[in-house]
Assembly symmetry: C2
Homo-oligomer: 174 residues x 2
């Protein structure tokens, strides 16, 4: 990163479609996290723009972009269902380009998501899963107020095929 | 039900599309369960047929139909991700028309799903969530070998807005 660092966080809009398709491809290679149900690779520009418009309007789904000196370096999202019975539950995801790990951007994005959820008043529980071995991420989530709720056996699999435990973590929004 | 009862279980195929759209609408009104990510109400016949073809070919997703005397009365599904890291985790859902509750069809469908998962060799963990107050369903799942893994606070919401605990239940496939 350059010495002068300008960080901007804002919600994604349809005009971001082309840049997001590019960065999602890179993030898919580098990290475990899928921001949208469908891989960005399979999405046309029009589909992505429509998805972004729907996300922007949604009361319980959102997508935030982190820019560093004008370049997209990370994404943060909350996904929730339309179904009333579970519409108060938001699944949190944060994904940063590897070159930008360790600078506090994950914490900034998480704070933004929590604020967004608190302002919206519809979400009442945020949740995420994280591999038990991913201590750095767990520490960040706990710092932000998340609690471990359960250990899920076989919740993930490593590249060599070994089963991994994952924590289910939650944060109540009141 | 008539006195003579003929029960058939089989995997759904694209030709079932029209009948499935109808029954999914009815199930959506009667039960909590969404078989597909998208509500059947919003799906065209062509979309449904394409979805069914993809399900039929998938190694870790399936949709079974229960017929009683030739009429569709229930559905059972396993949903899993393409992502290698979690492709061994299948989310189970069973949905029966209310008139057909209490005749053991839920157990039959669950047995079929477990057999299908065991034969496929890709799925290694089946999971589901169920409201803690839904003792009948919990009993059925335990009879089939599922274990309670965690209690998820605010995991659902009742019609009057009260938060409900849900159990996360799991069954290992070995």
């Amino acid at each position: 990163m350059s010495e002068e660092l300008q960080v901007t966080l804002r919600e994604a809009i349809p005009d971001d479609a082309a840049a997001l398709i590019e960065v999602m491809k890179q993030l898919a290679e580098e990290t475990d996290f899928l921001i949208m149900d469908q891989p960005a690779l399979e999405m046309t520009l029009e589909m992505m723009a429509l998805n972004l418009a729907a996300l922007y309007e949604s009361p319980n789904n959102c997508l935030f972009i982190a820019f560093v000196n004008g370049k997209i370096v990370g994404l943060a999202s909350i996904k929730a269902s339309d179904d009333y019975r579970v519409a108060h539950i938001g699944e949190v995801g944060i994904s940063l380009l590897k070159d930008y790990w360790g600078f506090g951007l994950g914490s900034l994005l998480m704070e933004e998501l929590i604020l967004w959820a608190e302002e919206g008043q519809l979400l009442r529980r945020l949740e995420l899963t994280v591999q038990v071995r991913n201590q750095r991420a767990i520490h960040l989530y706990e710092k932000m107020g998340f609690e471990k709720e359960a250990t899920i056996a076989r919740g993930a699999r490593s590249e060599d095929g070994a089963f991994l435990d994952v924590y289910l973590m939650r944060l109540f929004i009141n």
